[in-house]
Subunit: 425 residues, 2 copies
């Protein structure tokens, strides 16, 4: 594994099929009219393993946790999770006792339809905060949904969890290993926004690898830290953020032993799938015009490298300058200066793409027209070399567009008015 | 003093005159063409005390400090500062040894023209980062500037330090005290932007109060903490942020004794002037459409109250919702949830103006149309009652507008191209 977050040693093959690419998983989705009963749109998804699983998950660190997050964290304490039921259109957050009842009703509905126990079902929700779930439109439909799931239903499931996403996010790989191979597939949703840290992130991953609980936990933490945590800046997670990984061991391979080479291979495979999904989240959306990789190099410590990278990635002024294709390294060094990372101004080099813009804290000789060419591209890297130590950190981010502001200006009022017009409020 | 940051006990009278309102101060400004030699625009200001002063200042906590900040911090170690020379159009930041030489040249020029020592002059700069000062257009003009200063020159000085500000910021008061009265006047610049924390802030304050060094230091720290630090969120200070307060003791009043009632009166007066200037900074600008006061109430500790207030004030999604006049309390509670402040979701009440939007973490019964009326106003308060303790904290902030993004999209390129067109690059 290289220091900058990419796994280079996984000899994977990209495959189709998302969460149903691994053996023994089925998925599907239906339309319940959760956001608006008059609009036909997939909004309820189900992912099921046909056999017992080892499952792990990570949830938002936000102190305000949505009801499905609370319920799923509790269910995860059990072994053998068999299904995930997830909806878009309503986050079921800030909904109190009623919210917990609604999340339980979803889990119970799925359990009954599948013939498993309620505690074997996890729940995910995304959408508006502070409104009760229209549960009366959901529970009566879960049996239909359970009928519908198939080994080609991943695409529909990935569409059903979208909110402001402009396209579904799905990725799957097959990884050859000693004595066989295994598959890892995932679907995710972020939002077509500048700051994925502010939008709800859901990610559901399945694998047929024969992996035990201890190695699974290690792999989920590692892969999340190297992927989603590089876009969910500063712990600003939403009330609903959820990452779940289910392994059913159906692959034709020997069981993965603790601390083995195969255990590391699994970790890297999970990292690869999560990183691709994370990049799709950042890159998604009509409202984002630039995908930018911030690379901090040679910081004193990893914590310093991270502070500097996140300060740059979060700076409104820096993001605005990218939107305008402006190679404004002054704003970058300004953000590095207040990041809290240990720096020596006179040692800092800043590059746009491969071109140096700032050398030793001062303007470089690179013509601005050359730097502009880099920043005009829809995808480029900004490298900040602190020249102080050997720790590196990468963050993926975007520009800040006028459309982002416009898009985010009236969600709540619009939702309430829609409800009222439909006689639902 | 009330807990929410307002001084209520200063029996002040608002007066005209800015930094020249207090006795014994003169000011003025000229146009040197710092940003663009073809454009006639005030860009170099001088503020002078006719007699010895007690002066204190606070500078940016950004590790990348502009040359004038480094020089002024050094000069402030001396007593008897006599003048401040300040320019707009160029920040003289990230300019290395050459930058220090240029800042010294400005101080030396002012000292020679005024017949004082170079170490008695402070320097302030604001503008673009990473370009050398066009010092050859500045130093030859300082003698003219020194000729021009007068006791009615504050207005010109306040205009000369503007960058993206749409209007000059000036405020002065006269405060009656035991045995006489004193005056405090100030000028400041922020920017017509959403986040004053990202823009350079300069504030120069004069007073004729008879105040000693110890009480002055205490007052400057207190007043800054209660004003500019409530808008400069999260320590994200620019490379050039500067607050300077000069006292020349010319008022007709007895000397202020340590720990006396008059010392507190002075502290409150300074707080009042700084708070008014800070509010002007936040409210300034065509690009800001809403002025919002975030009030956190009944947090466990002051630190918790501050964390919650700043998280809400900094949230892009919250700012966007205000711009769209959307009373989206879900985004507010979301930001409070990730702020790091200790909370109990089920105890949180959120108000827009005087109307409750969220009660005990759940949607209130207030009709959304009523809440919308509040958020449609150009100025309103959002109160977050954590109902956990008794600590309060207020922050002043704004919405996020499409125009902000547009305005900040191409500063550096534009500046470089301007220089090139004028044959200066």
């Amino acid at each position: 594994m290289t220091t900058d977050g990419e796994c280079c040693r996984v000899p994977f093959k990209k495959i189709e099929g998302g969460v149903t690419a691994p053996k023994g998983f089925r998925a599907g989705a239906i339309s319940c009219g959760i956001k608006n009963p008059k609009i036909e749109r997939l909004d309820l998804a189900l992912i099921v393993s046909d056999s017992p699983t080892v499952t792990d998950g990570l949830f938002t660190t936000n102190q305000v946790k949505a009801a499905p997050v609370k319920l799923s964290a509790q269910h995860l304490k059990n072994s053998d999770i068999r299904a995930i039921i997830a909806n878009s259109g309503n986050a079921n957050a800030c909904t109190g006792v009623r919210g917990i009842q609604d999340a339980k009703a979803m889990a119970r509905g799925a359990a009954e339809a599948l013939g498993v126990k309620m505690r074997q079902v996890l729940v995910g929700s995304t959408g508006i905060i502070g409104m009760n779930m229209p549960i009366e439109r959901i529970t009566p439909r879960i049996a239909d949904l359970a009928e519908k799931i198939s080994d080609s239903g991943s695409d529909e499931a990935s569409r059903a969890i979208m909110t402001s996403d402009t396209k579904p996010k799905t990725y799957a790989i097959e990884v050859p290993c000693k004595g066989g191979s295994f598959r890892v597939g995932g679907i995710a949703k972020g939002a077509g926004m500048i700051c994925p840290n502010m939008a709800t992130m859901l990610c559901f991953i399945t694998t047929d690898a024969k992996i035990g609980k201890a190695e699974m936990n290690k792999a989920v933490r590692h892969a999340t830290d190297m992927s989603f945590n590089r876009i969910t800046i500063d712990g600003d997670t939403s009330t609903n953020d959820t990452v779940i990984v289910m392994a059913n061991g159906q692959a034709d391979m020997p069981a993965i032993k603790k601390g083995s080479e195969e255990a590391e291979l699994f970790r890297c495979a999970l990292h690869k799938v999560m990183l691709e999904l994370a990049k799709m989240m950042v890159g998604d959306g009509e409202r984002v015009t630039k995908f930018v990789e911030i690379r901090v190099r040679n910081a004193r410590t990893q914590a310093d490298a991270r502070k500097a990278a996140e300060a740059v990635a979060k700076s409104l002024l820096v993001k605005c300058s990218w939107h305008g294709s402006d190679p404004n390294w002054g704003r970058v060094i300004h953000a590095v200066g207040y990041s809290g990372a240990r720096i020596r101004e006179e040692l800092i080099d800043i590059y746009f793409g491969g071109l140096i813009a700032c050398k030793g804290g001062l303007v470089s000789k690179t013509p601005v027209a050359e730097l502009e060419k880099i920043v005009k591209q829809p995808k480029f890297a900004v490298t900040i070399d602190l020249n102080l130590g050997s720790a590196n950190y990468d963050v993926y981010t975007t520009d800040l567009s006028e459309e982002y502001v416009d898009f985010n200006a009236a969600e709540y009022s619009a939702a309430v008015h829609t409800k009222r017009q439909k006689g639902l409020a």
